[in-house]
């Protein structure tokens, strides 16, 4: 062979060598192609589990999962079908159905597309009877609320957003998750475990059969049912009493911290946020000027008003700056400085009478005694001590309940006033704190928790809505822990006596809450606010010895606490303790009481 023949032969060998080296690289060395091949042919399809049910404390169903189906189609396989009949079944117009099909065709002729979301089981059965080639249904679950109440408490579910999908491996685009309320707090319990079927598909996504005879499939695990502490009957009564009044009712079982009632008014029918009208209804609720989607029970920050006198009284007793026998005069109010007005009642009063008659003057004296206590060597140090007491009652921080979106309220500190008054302030400057006004802000849950704390004479359990989770012996350990206040039990007894008198004795501010034989102890509050008429509030517990229920009622712009909040609270207590309502007239009185909300309604455009 000549020189050129040899060169050509070498060239041929070189070409094949290069091809083989490259083949060796991608076939033997580089693994990425093997993984890519797996991803190509295996289709993983999620099997959605039914979501866990939610029950009330008596076993009544509050939230259930109902089967729902998505109508899908593969445009290529769609044969001639009765468009009108299918549109009727799916509950859409024929034009809409045609438009969706056309959209699906444009997306892909061979891949499945969603045509109609969330059709009912009945519709699905009708669909199965008909002949609709190329269409099929996929199982999803939908929520249904048989009692149609406690929307804010139970919450709603919605499609996950992209950020959640990116953050949490569990979710994929299009999944549902709890967006608010119990649905959100207990998402991980309720959602169950998604299942998986793995199929082999061809390049068009057409299934060719199960992968490894179905050995790789995982069955979905249904979500776990939750029994809440809520008393459905009581909740219904609370919502009925509130009507379209704006405010909140919270009832707690003091001996456990379980939340029996949680009304945020105005509320909404949770069923409105399910199904195909969800979007429209949601927007309507969002636009409502009274903010029905806002869970006032844990998210609002109200001035506590006179109910906070209980806290100041207890601190003063514990600090020894007043005793059971200390009496202060009151002639129309506290007269030092700009003064604090008071209503007409007998004078002078001791702690018990001051609580009974809600005397402003007494608590101004007591509060200033706390701050001017010489043992702290200065008002600022004394105020720090006062802060610590108030915090121990659960104010100024989130209670760490299991209610979604719970806020911390606000308790001013020395820093707050140093900023406002540029460091120059004294006990008189802050005197409005003595009667629960000023910078203080509390959630209704914190006020109900105060009622429970006083009922327990000095401690509280973290309020919680969960009572039992199926298949678990206990709920979260934090709900079994007693939180003691920094005030001793014996001082509580004095204040409780005053609260008893407020309901039972002439001159008491909470007389409207009186129910024979129930020994209700209560405290009214009338909170000034910059938006209009005073807020009405009332907190109480009953019976006096061995308390079973503690209630806090807050009615925005309801005026005097004793006239609207106290009746509502007493009706709740009566219904809970006796299962009957003896004063139907009071129910009618409360329901017929109309309150104007120019502040909210002005915002409506």
């Amino acid at each position: 062979m000549g020189r050129r023949g040899k060169i050509i032969s070498s060239f041929v060998v070189a070409v094949f060598a290069i091809l083989l080296v490259r083949l060796f690289w991608i076939q033997v060395i580089d693994d990425s192609y093997k993984r890519a091949a797996q991803n190509n042919v295996l289709r993983r399809e999620v099997q959605y589990p039914p979501r866990g049910e939610v029950y009330d404390r008596n076993g009544e169903l509050l939230v259930r999962s109902i089967p729902s189906y998505d109508l899908m189609a593969i445009p290529r396989d769609v044969g001639p079908f009765d468009t009108a009949a299918l549109a009727r079944i799916a509950g859409v117009t024929t034009e809409k159905l045609r438009a969706e099909l056309e959209k699906a065709s444009r997306y892909s002729r061979r891949r499945p597309s969603l045509i109609v979301k969330q059709i009912s089981l009945e519709a699905k059965l009708l669909f199965d009877e008909g002949d609709y080639p190329g269409f099929y249904t996929v199982y999803r679950t939908m929520r249904s609320y048989p009692r149609k109440m406690a929307g804010n408490l139970l919450g709603y579910i919605g499609e996950v957003d992209a950020a959640t999908v990116a953050r949490d491996d569990y979710y994929q685009s299009g999944d549902y998750r709890g967006m608010s309320g119990i649905e959100r707090t207990y998402e991980e319990v309720l959602r169950g475990e998604k299942g998986l079927t793995v199929s082999v598909v061809d390049v068009h996504g057409i299934k060719k059969g199960p992968y490894m005879e179905g050995m790789a499939d995982v069955a979905p695990i249904p979500g776990t049912a939750i029994t809440t502490a809520l008393d459905g009957r009581l909740q219904a009564l609370g919502e009925e009493l509130m009507g379209d009044k704006v405010g909140s009712i919270i009832a707690i079982e003091p001996s456990t911290g379980e939340i029996l009632v949680m009304v945020s008014s105005p509320g909404y029918d949770p069923d409105e946020l399910v199904g195909r009208d969800r979007g429209n209804n949601y927007m309507e609720l969002l636009r409502n000027p009274r903010h029905p989607l806002f869970n006032r029970g844990v998210m609002s920050r109200y001035p506590p008003g006179s109910t906070f006198k209980l806290v100041n009284g207890l601190i003063a007793l514990q600090e020894g700056v007043v005793s059971a026998y200390t009496r202060y005069p009151c002639h129309g109010g506290y007269t030092v400085g700009r003064g604090v007005k008071c209503h007409d009642h007998r004078s002078p009063v001791n702690i018990r009478q001051a609580v009974q008659m809600s005397c402003n003057s007494y608590f101004c004296h007591a509060f200033r005694n706390i701050l001017d206590n010489p043992k702290y060597g200065g008002v600022k140090n004394a105020f720090d001590a006062w802060n610590e007491y108030v915090y121990s009652f659960g104010f100024g921080h989130s209670l760490d309940s299991d209610l979604a979106g719970e806020l911390e309220g606000f308790v001013p500190t020395r820093g707050t006033y140093d900023r406002i008054y540029r460091g120059s302030w004294n006990s008189l400057t802050l005197v409005s704190l003595s009667i629960g006004q000023g910078e203080l802000g509390c959630t209704p849950l914190q006020m109900a928790n105060l009622a429970a704390t006083i009922a327990n004479r000095g401690y509280y359990y973290t309020p919680h809505i969960v009572k039992h989770i199926d298949g678990r012996d206990s709920i979260d350990t934090r709900f079994y822990e007693k939180h003691y206040t920094k005030v001793e039990r014996r001082y509580f007894d004095m204040v409780v006596d005053g609260m008893y008198d407020a309901v039972h004795k002439d001159g008491g501010t909470g007389r409207m809450a009186y129910v024979k034989g129930l020994d209700i102890c209560g405290k009214t509050g009338t909170a000034q606010n910059p938006h209009g008429k005073d807020h009405a509030t009332f907190l109480c517990f009953a019976p006096k010895n061995d308390p079973k229920i503690a209630v806090s009622v807050y009615v925005e712009h309801g005026g005097f606490g004793g006239s609207i909040a106290a009746p509502i609270a007493s009706l709740i207590v009566e219904e809970y303790l006796t299962d009957t309502i003896s004063r139907q007239w009071l129910v009618d009185y409360v329901k017929n009481m109309k309150i104007d909300y120019p502040y909210y309604d002005r915002q409506q455009k």
Binding site: I8, F16, A37, K208
Partner: protein, 470 residues
Amino acid sequence: MEKSGVDWGSVAIFFALMLLGWTNIYAAVFDETATGGFSFSTRYGSQLMWIGICVLAAVVIMKVDEIYYHIVAYPFYVFMLVVLLATLVIGTEVNGARSWLRFGGLSVQPAEFAKFATALALARCMSSYSFSMAGLRSRVYAIAIILTPMAVILLQNDAGSAMVFASFLMVLYREGFNGWWYVALGMVVFLFVFSFIWTPTLLLAAIIIICAVMEGVMNGGWIRIVRYIAGVALGSLAICMVWLAVSPATVDYYYSLLAASVLSLVAVGVYAWRNKLRNVLVCVGMFLGSLAFTGMIDTVFSHLQLHQQKRILDLLGVESDLQYWGYNVNQSKIAIGSGGMFGKGYLQGTQTKYDFVPEQSTDFIFCTVGEEWGFFGSVVVLGLFCWLILRLIKMGERQHEAFGRVYCYGVAGIFLFHVMVNVGMTIGLMPVIGIPLPLFSYGGSSLFAFTLLFFVAVKLDSRRRENGEL
């Protein structure tokens, strides 16, 4: 004298490849859910029928006296040109190329047979007594024979089939074409590829070094070369410094290097001219040519069709769009790469079975080999092809007549080009050019044309002793 000079070894390799090809077509179109038995309407059925026809054709070719191939070479060539032109007018358009003729149910791609006709005609031309590589007229004839069908096929918009005619460059080289032309061609390819990948400065530096090294190869004197390169580097550095001092904002390394090298070349050119150093002038010319060509590439590139641009950029790794242009190659690489050492087993390939690879029984048939037989199968198939091509070259070398030698080289070149480009394409070494893998890709025209090509070579080879004695 032996009775038969048939190279049975090559024939055996040829049929082994044909059989392997058929089994892989079967795998590529295999559908386990399909019912019913064997049928000629399926691709593997139809291919089997073509194999039968090819065996018959092979027998006929072996029976025909080799003198007829000399005689029919030109008439057949002219006939094929007419058919190609006719196809341009009455052909059927497939994938944008008007390259198919349809007779009832039978579709023929004339370009496949044009290769055969050209190989014969080229052999005839280059074996004539008056032919001499040194003569300009002879070279023009030979090149015209190659370029004419190529041009018509390009007009059909079938760039892939047209490019196959480049394989005759191998024949021309064997018959005495100047090797420097091939170096120049290699340089063109190099510049084309790297002008997309490298920065202009780096490319310019590479050109300077290549030209200098080439000069070294021709004239020796390596120390001189090193000194020259160092001088240019220092010169450009100096220009850079001056530039930096004058106008720091506009300093440009490319133009510094360009200025240094061009200035040095003026000196080198004058020196070479005076001393009549022709080789140096060749290198200077090559340098200037390279510069001009690099400048031209952008212009030419912008005149290519969009899909060609995309494929080139995709192949060079400059741009990659896996869902669009890169889809074919990516899926093909996945199929082959997932085969591993020994493959997934016959009919077990998931990528090919479920149609992830496009055109998998035609242009991408090698995916089936790679996926189901793994690297082992790749070695066997490519080994057989390599062996066959080397045997064809050997066949050519042992011919006593130029006709047989040119023809055998032509066949070897066509096989090599097809295998190199087709397999290279499936593993991302070559742009996606739609040409079949010989004896593997589904399609009667291609199978039949390769049978003709190969068996005529075998026939010519089998008669070499008798002809040699003449």
